[in-house]
């Protein structure tokens, strides 16, 4: 049994079949990338894998437990965490508060003890603070812990999204275009970071991206989506050379007039 088994996942919006028969068996510690042209349905797949959309058909099973029909927060509590294509930080909160908010589901204090700030509750707060800092450190955000999230530069904001998702202790991390809008050096740094956290935090990762120089070096397997359908899958080498993939990205049948 794989860690995550997705079978025949489909969703229809009115007459539009946005995702058609998506299948994935994610093994532990694997890094799978989903690539494809804009509008292919990749984020829609993510939204189904995190409970934001309910699929019209198909199944999602995490370690054998069916997840379809649960609410998004329940997906997160069972170990699937994500980052967003358009950054969704808690903008008016500090960097470290953003991290702490992701730990709410692990909160051991009840309402009354929080209202009066018992000694135990303060102890838990301190431990939470230390744990949050321990996640900010490897992501180079520790010295910015008290800054407001909305005041961070773009690259820092992306790393903060990542740190926040890590705080939920996920089994599976979904990264939605983690290097969108970045330049080459930043992309390389992010690739190294993703590989490192995969090892340090013992994660399985599914990611969506357009930048091939980010995906190719780090992915174990790639699935290519176009118009909601999977048109190719395999290791990076196989997929790169698949003519169907080249056609989807570049269009088929163009002759160079200068040739």
């Amino acid at each position: 049994m794989s860690l995550l088994e997705v079978k025949n996942l489909s969703i229809q919006f009115g007459g539009l079949r946005a995702v058609d028969d998506f299948n994935l068996n994610l093994e532990k510690d694997e890094l799978v990338a989903i690539i494809g042209p804009n509008g292919a349905g990749k984020t829609t797949i993510f939204n189904m894998l995190t409970g934001i959309y309910r699929p019209t058909s198909g199944s999602i099973e995490l370690e054998g437990e069916s997840l379809v029909g649960l609410k998004p927060y329940q997906y997160a509590q069972r170990g699937i965490s994500r980052t967003f294509q358009n950054i969704r930080l808690f903008s008016n909160a500090s960097v470290i508060d953003n991290i702490k908010m992701a730990a709410t589901m692990h909160c051991k204090d009840n309402l009354v003890s929080s209202l009066v700030r018992t000694r135990t509750m303060v102890k838990h707060e301190r431990e939470l603070d230390e744990k949050a800092m321990s996640i900010l450190e490897p992501l180079s955000l520790a010295d910015k812990a008290d800054l407001l999230a909305k005041n961070l530069p773009y690259g820092d904001q992306r790393r903060l999204e990542l740190a926040r998702a890590l705080m939920t202790n996920p089994k599976i991390l979904l990264l939605d275009e983690p290097v969108a809008g970045m330049i080459t050096t930043e992309i390389e740094e992010m690739a190294q970071l993703v590989v490192r956290i995969r090892k340090d935090f013992d994660l399985s990762i599914i990611l969506i991206e357009h930048h091939m120089n980010f995906v190719m070096p780090i992915a174990d397997r790639i699935k290519v989506i176009d118009f909601g359908r999977t048109i190719s899958e395999g290791t990076p080498d196989v997929v790169q050379k698949d003519p169907k993939v080249i056609e989807a990205y570049l269009g088929g049948g163009y002759q160079n007039v200068n040739a």
Partner: protein
């Protein structure tokens, strides 16, 4: 049967008042995304204004009523005056807050409403005392199937219907209407397409104010006491109408207004407190069943 028809007549009449006022609410919401809680006070300004404007025409009045031409002038002046005040309110109090959070505009609207009711109240020649609304038409009563209906009521209902149809054509068929629809969909894109959004918004407020004046005249023709506080209850009810029909939708506002007017008259006939509460009950029901309103479209937020 006769009393059913009678209530229906009153319901249509109250419904026209609500529908006209709801149109202003809904247009402003559709175009600037703001619930202008001061809108009911535009009705009051229209009604109270008509009282004073009619005094100017006292020289041509016959036995307390006025010739048709004078009536037309009075109504027109009232509409223009109220529309102008609405434009002024928008320019001073709402325009600077266009990009701020919605609650800020709501609080400002509370302040505007407070100002619009208390400023006339403080002015010595207006004051808090109710004034009798001038009889603009000689009422002739007709009996149809056992229900009595006065010429005033007929004129009011027809006036309301004509105004609403005119507005519907304006929005659907004219260039200005297209601009208004564009601004309501995407303000920034509209301005990039060369639409002067300040002008469009001002015109929207002007129309809303003018319609509120007509609404006030319709109301006051039947319940002839006008005073500075008359706008708030009617404003709340027309707001309910707008939500019922689908806030932001013009046809919805008309539909909602008539439904609420008729429902309220029938409910009051059963029990006065029921009549008072039926508006809110309808509101809660629609919000739980179909929050977008009868004519509203449900939008899904893109993640």
């Amino acid at each position: 049967m006769a009393s059913f028809l009678q209530y229906l007549v009153y319901g249509l009449q109250l419904g026209s008042v609500y529908a006209l006022l709801a149109l202003g609410y809904t247009m402003v919401y559709g175009i600037v995304g703001m619930i202008n809680t001061a809108h009911g006070d535009f009705l009051m300004i229209g009604a109270l204004g008509t009282y004073f404007i009619a005094k100017l025409f006292d020289s041509v009045s016959i036995d307390g009523t006025y010739p048709m031409l004078a009536v037309g002038c009075i109504i027109l002046i009232a509409m223009v005056m109220t529309g102008g005040i609405a434009v002024g309110v928008e320019a001073i109090a709402y325009r600077p807050l266009r990009n701020k959070p919605r609650m800020i505009a709501l609080i400002t609207a509370v302040g505007v409403s407070m100002f619009l009711t208390n400023f006339p109240r403080a002015l010595p020649f207006i004051g808090p005392n109710p004034r009798p609304f001038p009889t603009l038409f000689t009422p002739k009563t007709f009996t149809v199937l056992g229900a009595s209906i006065t010429s005033t009521q007929i004129i009011m209902i027809i006036l309301a219907a004509v105004t609403m149809l005119a507005l519907d054509r304006l929005v659907a068929k004219t260039k200005m209407g297209a601009q208004m629809r564009a601004v309501s969909m995407d303000k920034d894109a509209a301005s990039l397409m060369g639409i002067n959004i300040d002008k469009v918004i001002s015109i929207t407020f002007f129309i809303g104010g003018a319609l509120a004046a007509v609404s006030g005249i319709c109301y006051a023709s039947v319940y002839p006491q006008v005073e500075v506080y008359m706008g708030s209850w009617l404003g709340n009810m027309s707001f309910v109408s707008a939500v019922l029909g689908g806030i932001g939708d013009i046809r919805g506002a008309m539909l909602g207004g008539f439904i609420l007017g008729i429902a309220q008259i029938f409910a009051t006939a059963i029990n006065s407190t029921f009549g008072y509460a039926v508006g809110f009950i309808i509101l809660i029901v629609i919000l739980l069943v179909k929050p977008a309103g009868i004519m509203g479209k449900v939008t899904i937020e893109k993640v």
